[in-house]
């Protein structure tokens, strides 16, 4: 009974663990394609199985044999499979002297009662060792004598080239690319999306309500890098590294940056508490009919297609 309990407690623990593992995996992470995924899982499986088997083996290995011995007074005969294995083992696998004939290979060494057998090197071990040496020699020849294998730099250049081709192919599929020139204000849903991004990423520098902090106040009419949707889109995308504004173009998609820019513009005139003093120039949107020479929207707008 105790044995049973011990065994089951392990099984239960493992089951709980595996389930909790799948609970972690809600985030959609797709593993890199190719064999690595399977390699990883097989290593993991190998580890778990090896530990369980060792534990199980230790507990159960001799139980049946001993019971059989008690019952019949004779050692239990080997099953067909065991016989096969034992033969294979003797001839090819370890080539070890059987336990009954151990005295034939017992050396006269005695160290504090520890004796040594003169078993031969297990052939699988010996040949495995030779094989790794051959592989090592081939590896060195390939990469450093014949130089048919790529250097890390070559690998990198290949990787970048493949990526560039892929991106290009993807670009030609999506005809219209949103950029600072053709961006327009997002609708209410877009602004709501922008707000989410803002409160996850921008607030540490610009304040929870856009009041400013490390970065400038976003709610007033003064702008360091222009206050149109085009300007803001560009500032967010490329950043202003010298002043500490990071470039977010690699982080967010153009659509997300449009939403974010629109949200930022929606903060205009909200007058939050603790607002930072204005920085930059007063920005007045350039209207077609208007020629006021305050800082203008500096980006040329392409005519709508």
């Amino acid at each position: 009974m105790r044995n049973l309990f011990q065994k089951h407690s392990i099984l239960t623990a493992l089951i709980i663990f595996l389930f909790s593992g799948s609970a972690y995996a809600q985030n959609n992470i797709s593993f890199p394609s190719g064999g690595m995924k399977y390699f990883f899982y097989s290593v993991l499986g190998f580890l778990i199985l090896a530990i369980i088997f060792t534990a199980y083996f230790i507990k159960q290995r001799n139980k049946y044999r001993q019971e059989a011995l008690l019952r019949t007074g004779k050692p239990m005969p080997l099953s067909g499979f065991r016989k096969l294995w034992s033969n294979f083992d003797k001839k090819f696998f370890t080539k070890a002297a059987s336990i009954e004939k151990e005295s034939d290979v017992l050396l006269d060494h005695d160290y504090d009662g520890i004796k040594e057998l003169d078993n031969t090197l297990p052939p699988w071990w010996k040949w495995g060792f030779y094989l790794t040496i051959i592989v090592a020699v081939i590896y060195l020849l390939r990469f450093h004598v014949f130089k048919t294998g790529p250097t890390p730099e070559q690998e990198y250049n290949n990787e970048m080239q493949i990526a560039a081709t892929k991106i290009e192919a993807n670009k030609s599929k999506n005809k219209i690319q949103l950029d600072e020139n053709n961006v327009t204000m997002a609708d209410a849903t877009g602004i709501a999306e922008g707000k989410k991004i803002y409160s996850g990423t921008c607030f540490p520098c610009h304040g929870a309500q856009g009041e400013g902090g490390i970065g400038p106040n976003l709610t007033d009419k003064y702008w360091l890098h222009g206050g149109s949707i085009h300007n803001i889109f560009k500032t967010i995308t490329d950043g202003v590294p010298d002043k500490g504004m990071q470039a977010w173009g690699k982080t967010f998609t153009p659509e997300e940056i449009r939403d974010l820019s629109s949200f930022v513009l929606s903060l205009q005139g909200t007058n939050p508490p603790n607002a930072k003093a204005p920085q930059g120039d007063l920005y007045v949107a350039a209207k077609a009919s208007d020629s006021v020479a305050v800082k203008k929207d500096t980006i040329k707008q392409k005519p709508a297609k």
């Binding site: 890199p32 090197l121 690699k250």
Partner: protein, 707 residues
């Protein structure tokens, strides 16, 4: 046959080391559990400055390697070598000096590491006075060993002793070469080597700390305690010979596999790969010689808790040494490196191989030292299961965490941007795994406490046999070998040639890898725009090192698209020529910082300031400890002169006499940063440490952008 001589074994020294093993083991595991929990509760547990992750993690690794396993080695070593040589230790005084010296070193480590006194090189963090103490105590240990070997009553040295000898000589070489450093004050020094060369020496050392501190001495212990506990002959003498020599020869080459895809010359990386690959079978030689020794004794394994521990230990050894060569393959390493996969791997070795073998050995040894049966077999059995479960709950979540994080780092969207561009996303995702790992660790620690109680009760029941009587005939004066004896027998009866041969065998790999990297210029191509650090940056770098930032942040961008997209241009060997010591790191719990100051990812001084003050406020979900104490800590500008001088001595081209005006430059640069901060209404005192750290971070990776 000569007359029997009577003598006594010194059991007291084995007992003392056994006690130290248990106590330091529990301390080391406790610190480990603490740092594991810091990743789950970063805000509460990172009590700054002494208990923040960067300072405690080195304490954990050093305590486990040198205190727990170190004392474990000496416990088994002192017990077994006297019996294998049929002789008492040559000098009880030297044994005692060894014991107390080693404990003093550990105590010094436990005090200095939380204080931030660190050389900044992994597993070799202890500063120069302690390094010297280690060297002295190590010589005491070796001296006593050889003096005992020379007065032995057994002609041939058993395989366990070959491993002890190889351990002694190799650790001595590794420790001395890697610890060469130039002191600037009592507890501060700069590594003699810089950049790529420092990295190569460090990982030649680091990997062989695994090989010759965690592996070879424990194989020696296995070869004594396993056949003893099982009462079976060792499976194959031939295998012992072949795997011993091949193991020590091959192991020493393997270090560069910690630096794959780094700025290390490619040929050195390839040597690391192929030699790690060839290590598989020599390592497994130890495993199969252990497991096959149990042939015909498996029924005992069911009954005997000591053997159970040993079987799991040897199996874990087999698994870790299979995984090691696999992790050394470039394709696998590209995924595993810098992730928790590595942490899982070392803990299969640490908890499984070292931990379980130590436990098994102690359960066997303590009852024999105290001439009484173990207090509770049931409790020991429970310990076995708790510890085994602990290993599973520790390792499996970290395997998943490591692989998942690598997958997240490497994933791109179809339009060519990183799928997880914010590093912190990949970290917050791992929190449940870190929690499960901490649970596994606490199980393992709980098991160790059960053992402590069990052994304590055993000791109380028994009485120490401090001097155990023994007898053996003295060696004959003249000895001629048997005809037809194995050729290796001749080496086994000549300890000094055995020592010299081991030394030669282990020197080959180290010399072939290290010497060309130092002497051939093309291995580290220089870059003209790379200039020495300014005095403020130099001070900042020392703070970076003191706080152990390298335990979570790498400074090595590998030539992968996923890394150059995230961090910028991949790292070049020439960028590190003034880095004494190198700070490439080996794990990314936080993002790489090699180009923290470069245009692609540069942040403002105020951002860095606020982030160091309260990381979670700037990056929600971050696991980084707060370094708010740097905001008030005054910078030790008095040390600038000595530091510049030391750097010049190491070859950094500061102009002669620059040390005298350096502090003027330092203040000017600090004031510039203060002015930047003031623009964002952040006021700081002049010359506080945070300014130096910001200066250093903003400098990182910018040199190659300058024309």
């Amino acid at each position: 046959m000569q007359a029997l001589e009577k003598f006594q074994y010194d059991n007291k020294i084995a007992r003392n080391f056994a006690y130290a093993t248990i106590i330091w083991g529990i301390v080391g595991m406790l610190v480990g559990l603490w740092v594991a929990l810091e990743l789950v509760f970063p805000k509460t547990l990172n009590v700054q400055p002494f208990f923040s992750f960067g300072r405690l993690r080195p304490l954990h690794t050093n305590a486990i390697i040198f205190a727990f396993v170190g004392n474990g080695i000496f416990t088994g070593y002192y017990y077994s070598i006297q019996r294998l040589l049929k002789a008492r230790m040559a000098s009880d005084l030297l044994s005692r000096i060894h014991f107390w010296g080693w404990q003093f070193i550990i105590l010094a480590a436990a005090l200095t590491l939380p204080m931030g006194m660190t050389s900044g090189k992994e597993y070799a963090e202890l500063e120069w006075p302690i390094d010297i103490a280690i060297t002295i105590i190590w010589v005491v240990f070796g001296w006593n060993m050889f003096a005992t070997i020379l007065k032995r009553r057994v002609r041939h040295l058993y395989v366990a002793i070959w491993f002890y000898i190889a351990t002694f000589i190799t650790v001595a070489v590794l420790h001395i070469v890697n610890s060469l450093e130039l002191p600037v004050s009592w507890f501060r020094s700069y590594s003699w080597y810089a950049g790529v060369q420092d990295a190569l020496v460090q990982w030649w050392y680091g990997h062989n700390a695994v090989a010759f501190f965690l592996t070879t001495p424990y194989l020696g212990l296995m070869y004594y305690f396993l056949p003893k506990a099982a009462n079976r002959p060792v499976y194959s003498y031939k295998l012992s010979i072949i795997h011993f020599w091949s193991l020590i020869f091959l192991y020493i080459w393997a270090g560069p596999h910690h630096l794959l895809y780094s700025a290390l010359p490619n040929w050195a990386q390839s040597l690391g790969i192929v030699f790690s690959f060839m290590l598989l079978f020599p390592s497994w030689g130890g495993m199969i010689n252990g497991l096959l020794t149990l042939r015909g004794a498996w029924d005992k394994v069911r009954e005997d808790v000591v053997l159970k521990f040993m079987v799991v230990a040897v199996t874990a050894y087999g698994m870790a040494t299979f995984e090691g060569p696999m992790l050394s393959l470039k394709t696998v390493n590209a995924i595993s490196h810098f992730t928790d996969w590595t942490i899982a791997h070392v803990h299969v070795g640490g908890l499984g191989w070292n931990g379980m073998l130590t436990f098994g050995m102690l359960y066997w040894l303590i009852p024999r030292l105290f001439k009484t049966p173990l207090y509770s077999k049931k409790l020991a059995n429970a310990h076995f299961w708790v510890a085994t479960l602990g290993i599973i709950f520790y390792a499996v979540p970290l395997y998943i965490a490591g692989f998942t994080q690598a997958a997240m780092w490497n994933q791109f969207t179809p339009d060519g941007r990183l799928a997880y561009p914010q590093f912190v996303e990949t970290v917050t995702y791992l929190k449940p795994f870190y929690a499960t790992r901490a649970f596994g660790g606490s199980l393992f620690l709980f098991g160790a406490l059960m053992m402590m109680y069990n052994l304590f009760m055993t000791v109380r029941k028994g009485k120490l046999v401090a001097n155990e009587d023994a007898e053996a005939p003295a060696l004959e004066k003249i000895y001629t070998g048997h005809t037809g004896e194995h050729w290796h027998r001749r080496i086994e009866r000549k300890p000094i040639p055995l020592l010299m041969l081991s030394l030669i065998v282990i020197l080959i790999g180290g010399i072939i890898e290290i010497v060309p990297t130092f002497l051939i210029k093309s291995n580290v191509p220089t870059i003209a725009s790379v200039k020495p650090y300014t005095p403020l940056e130099l001070q900042g770098r020392d703070i970076y090192r003191r706080e152990g930032c390298y335990t979570c942040h790498s400074q090595m961008i590998r030539p992968f698209r996923s890394e150059t997209e995230r961090y910028g241009e991949y790292s070049k060997a020439g960028e590190f020529v003034y880095d004494h010591p190198f700070q490439w790191g080996s794990k990314r719990t936080g993002p790489d910082l090699a180009r923290e100051g470069s245009l692609k990812i540069k942040k403002s001084d105020t951002w860095q300031f606020n982030h160091l003050d309260d990381p979670q406020a700037v990056t929600p979900g971050s696991l980084m400890p707060s370094y708010s104490f740097l905001l008030d800590a005054e910078l030790d500008t008095a040390s600038t002169v000595a530091k510049i001088r030391a750097m010049r001595k190491l070859g950094v081209p500061y102009a002669k006499g620059y040390e005298n005006t350096a502090n003027k430059d330092l203040t000017a640069q600090a004031d510039l940063i203060r002015a930047n901060l003031l623009k964002d209404s952040v006021r700081v005192k002049p010359n506080v440490e945070v300014l130096a750290l910001i200066a250093y971070l903003q400098r990182l990776g910018t040199d190659i952008e300058k024309k």
